[in-house]
């Protein structure tokens, strides 16, 4: 392996941090509420546009705005679940897919109306150009490192929330058997809403990193969803750390694919995904 390829692989692994940030929320809603939120990518784009408006208005860095917005993001996720998604949870997957698909289209068109079709990118300040010289061999951008670190912190925090707190135990109880929970007086609807509130917070954090890292426009949500979905499935449904590894595998595949031919970047991502799925249908770290 040449130094250049090694460099590309490391950069790709760091992109995995960004993918993992997109994907942890999806992983949570799949693992806990057992539903596929087709609008997950669009919610991230919606949050990105909100950050753009607010950081423009207040003259603050999008990262700072995102941190202040976290409680609001929790409330948005909580009420989205309570008022809309809860009505279709349970019976079968089809109503959930239809409703979140509708939500996806509404968000895309709403953003198109409000902001127009143009592509945007937010400015993160100095952090975007700073880099670290590593092993005397190559420069690693400070921002990708910070995003990767954020992904690790977010996943560790979710891990603690789910496995070390009483609210986490209640969320897992509802994931195990919502009907049993309701029967004994642990309201599954309320726990789902709390879980969705947490998903909302991850959406906000993902949006702040994505909107500074890459371009976004009102229609880009579905392609974000696809990558996030691949990361979740690659890592193994319900495994948060698996989602991070899944994101890294996708990022590395993209960068090494691009090394061979620029047109191979996305193809390599999907090929690796299919390959792993053939070899390990339940993902890299399946939950028991």
């Amino acid at each position: 392996m040449t130094i250049d390829m090694l460099n590309q692989a490391i950069q790709g692994a760091l992109i995995g941090g960004l993918y993992a940030l997109f994907a942890v929320g999806l992983s949570l809603s799949l693992g806990v509420i057992r539903f596929i939120n087709i609008a997950h990518g669009d919610l991230i784009v919606l949050a990105s546009f909100l950050l753009m408006s607010l950081s423009g208005l207040l003259g603050l860095s999008p990262f700072v705005v995102a941190l202040f917005m976290l409680p609001l993001a929790f409330a948005a996720g909580y009420w989205l679940q309570r008022l809309l998604l809860q009505r279709v949870v349970g019976e079968s997957v089809l109503p959930v897919i239809l409703v979140t698909f509708g939500l996806s289209i509404m968000i895309q068109n709403g953003l198109l109306q409000a902001y127009g079709p143009d592509t945007h990118k937010l400015h993160g300040g100095q952090i975007e150009v700073a880099s670290v010289h590593m092993f005397g061999l190559f420069d690693i951008g400070f921002f990708p490192l910070a995003v990767f670190f954020t992904a690790i912190v977010v996943i560790a925090a979710l891990d603690i929330l789910l496995y070390r707190t009483s609210i986490g135990a209640r969320i897992r109880a509802v994931a195990d058997d919502p009907a049993a929970a309701d029967l004994i007086g642990l309201s599954s609807g309320r726990m789902y809403a709390i879980a969705m509130g947490v998903v909302g917070m991850t959406v906000m954090l993902a949006a702040s990193c994505m909107s500074v890292w890459t371009n976004f426009d009102p229609a880009i949500g579905p392609s974000r969803l696809l990558t996030a979905f691949e990361a979740v499935v690659l890592g193994g449904l319900g495994s948060l750390w698996g989602t991070l590894v899944g994101g890294m595998v996708l990022g590395i595949a993209q960068n090494l694919g691009a090394q061979m031919d620029a047109s191979w970047q996305i193809l390599a991502q999907h090929l690796i995904f299919l390959l792993v799925l053939v070899l390990r249908p339940r993902g890299l770290f399946p939950k028991a």
Binding site: S166, A169, R170, R172, A173, A175, D176, D177, A179, A180, A181, D182, L183, I184, G185, L186, S187, R190
Partner: protein, 237 residues
Amino acid sequence: MSGADDEPLRVEKLNVYYGQFRAVHDIDLTVAAGEIVSVIGANGAGKTSFLKAIMQQADRAEGSIHAFGLNLRTMSTPQIVAAGVALVPEGRRLFPSLTVAENLRIGWEIGRRGSITLDRIYSWFPVLAERRDQPARRLSGGQQQMVALGRALLANPRLLLCDEISLGLAPVVVGQLYDILPKIRAEGISMIVIEQDVVRSLAVADRFYCFLEGAVSLVGRPQDANRDVIMRHYFGG
């Protein structure tokens, strides 16, 4: 009549439906303070549907249900538990991936504060203390039933509803579970004990109701009841 503040349960003209099918038929049933009431009946007699209706978990119910003077028909299940009515559901219904301790603690968190603590449950069922960090799915059936009973007790209920706690368990294990009932009663907790096993159930009860095809076919005191009469009202015909 809505029932006095200290009356654990007063059910009047209760009907429970699944679609067009009426599973529970005009049932009247009361539990007095400190009482253990046994509900017996064959499979499909409507016993579980009756308890589900008390917890407001039936698809559709009609009639009146009061506990401690509260109208349960206007309350949510979490509110009912917080008011002091807890259910040990049929089939145990533990959370399989959660540990024994986590399953038990959920009962404590959703319930009322009171004298029944985690330590007391562990002293009643020492085997649960040994296995507290194991996932519930790894326990034997009897141990799982202990967790289900403990989870309900940790809510510190004033009225405990037990749905077939002996189902599928070896007689020795059933004996261990039933040995706990006097301790529960000593806490001042009233109980409805549902069983298909008539002998076991009548042995602990102050009063019994026999359900047949969704309706009450016989009410009485165990000491007054003739075995043949009970069997006729249990199986019908």
